[in-house]
Subunit: 334 residues, 2 copies
């Protein structure tokens, strides 16, 4: 039986939103109560389970509670029994296949990098985020911050890993993979993108070449490959830009006297469209286990979606596909 661990304590609205999200996932048949494991202080969580409708859910006692002020090093040295480290530990011991947290990205990445083996052949894990673009079609950006100074081979592996993740969870056998660049000619960009371009061209994926920033939301490709510095800027600029346009839209709607109820409906639909949690948060790909990182602001729906995508990634054997793809790429480059 596939088990998944949910960090009950990570996120701005934990543990309440996390427990409610878990309940939604059970109600919707995404997981059974028996498949779900929670990490957090047992004495806090146990009395909450029955009222939250989570009878039969296991709790792994994690009495050390992290705060925003805890760095990854603090988390591991001074609070080793925190809900993130013990959740990752559960996956490392093969008691569960996936771990989901809305806690600090830095702590989750550090705990997973230390606690989980790398997948065979993978040099460096990276973070993949799924975003909705043109017509609501999702695309994946990788890496968005695990590795701000990757080598070309890492970008190649991001392409392979994100492609396998997309196929496994979003049902497109041959997602188009683009290399984020400044100009679409092979020779454009910096030494990193030029070298990565050559490697991606020969990889066993549907590589369409370089794409520019303006193509990211227009549906030119389903996978966008970039270094973690640029990817993080891309993700956060688009988040900030979308929020800014939405606030400005709301202001102008009021100013010109548009119907307030219908305006609210439009804004609500727009917010759903720009909400990354629709597609299950961020995935740390390249480690032996499914690791999902949700936005700190996650509410019950976001937690439930994260569980849905984690279970899909486990069921689709995304990590096995990654290992095969990395092996095939290494063989073909020799």
């Amino acid at each position: 039986m596939t088990k998944v661990v949910l960090d009950a304590m990570g996120g701005d609205h934990a543990p309440r939103a996390n427990l409610d999200g878990a309940k939604l996932a059970i109600e919707r048949g995404i997981v059974s109560a028996e498949q779900l494991v929670l990490t957090g202080p047992r004495e806090l969580l146990e009395p909450m389970l029955a009222p939250a409708g989570l009878v039969g859910v296991d709790v792994v006692d994690a009495p050390d509670v992290l705060t925003c002020a805890d760095t990854p090093v603090d988390a591991m040295r001074r609070k080793p029994r925190n809900s993130i480290s013990l959740g990752i530990g559960h996956v490392a011991e093969h008691k569960a296949s996936g771990f989901i947290s809305a806690g600090s990205t830095g702590v989750v990445v550090a705990a997973a990098s230390v606690g989980l083996s790398r997948l065979e052949g993978v040099r460096r894990p990276g973070i993949a985020v799924t975003i909705q673009g043109e017509g609501g079609v999702p695309f994946v950006v990788m890496d968005v911050g695990a590795n701000p100074l990757p080598k070309a081979v890492d970008l190649l592996q991001y392409g392979l890993m994100a492609s396998a993740y997309y196929s496994g969870t979003l049902g497109n056998e041959r997602p188009r993979v683009g290399l984020l660049n400044i100009g679409t000619e092979d020779t454009k960009g910096n030494p990193l993108t030029r070298e990565a371009h050559q490697m991606l061209r020969h990889a066993p994926i549907n590589f369409i070449g370089s794409v520019e920033g303006v193509d990211v939301f227009s549906g030119r490709c389903e996978v966008v490959v970039c270094d973690g510095f640029t990817g993080n800027v891309l993700l956060k600029v688009s988040e900030g830009c979308a929020e800014y346009v939405l606030r400005t839209t709301a202001g102008f709607m009021k100013e010109v006297g548009l119907d307030p109820d219908k305006s609210r409906l439009v804004l609500h639909k727009l917010m759903q469209r720009v909400d990354y949690s629709e597609y299950g948060g961020a995935q740390l790909l390249g480690v032996d286990g499914v690791v999902t990182i949700c936005h700190g602001r996650s509410g019950p729906e976001a937690i439930c979606n994260a569980l849905r995508f984690a279970v899909r990634a486990v069921g689709a054997k995304v990590n096995q596909h990654i290992v095969s793809a990395v092996k095939a790429a290494a063989a073909s480059s020799q």
Copy 2:
């Protein structure tokens, strides 16, 4: 008398939109006909001047017409008498103080880098773009693509140059300068941002530290400093994201049955808000002369705005302020 050269041939709607933009600038008192010089094929342009209301405007004959297919090298070797090279040449010979083009960014940057001296003390020129953020307040991002692999000292100089440009053209004596990074602590980012952070801290500008992608549109600072690769991605992702949100908004407005006329008005206001040409296009800073690059799609208003900002930059002696700031920073770092 300050003279400025307008490339009559660059851009998707040239020469028509460029001539109409020039006329607007004259009508609005931004420049006089005597101050304006056009570059382009004389035999094409001269018959158009009187009908376009541009009597008294000088034409520098540039018979070689560039196409989209011409690379910067083609432009300079095979078509040396093109409207960009000759316009830059006019500035190099001190016959004019500024040059404005809606032609290829690559050709303008190459022609200016070859044809104009660097400002004293400046290591590498960069491109600064002005964008509207929260509440319509403009901010400048530099570099957006001139140098995809800068050194830390280049980022320091971008901060100095963009700050001087902002003060000179947008009337804020102490614009806040942020270093684009992935995390706001000093130690975050990559080796480039860590070194640049130390240099910017001691520079004679209003440096507020690192800013993240999400802060760019929220009004946290008026100047955003970054390498040309990241800046180009930032600029184009935000352009693509804003267009995507606008298209989606238009669709949802129709879907919920909002008043079509008022909806159009809201969309029109939004388009103006996300239109970079409101603030005069991109500036190549660091060369001896004012060089403005407009979007290829520029219409008459965008051309007129570019003339307005170029004339302001000349009048405010932005380049003299840049030289002083670079000198002061070099002295204080010794």
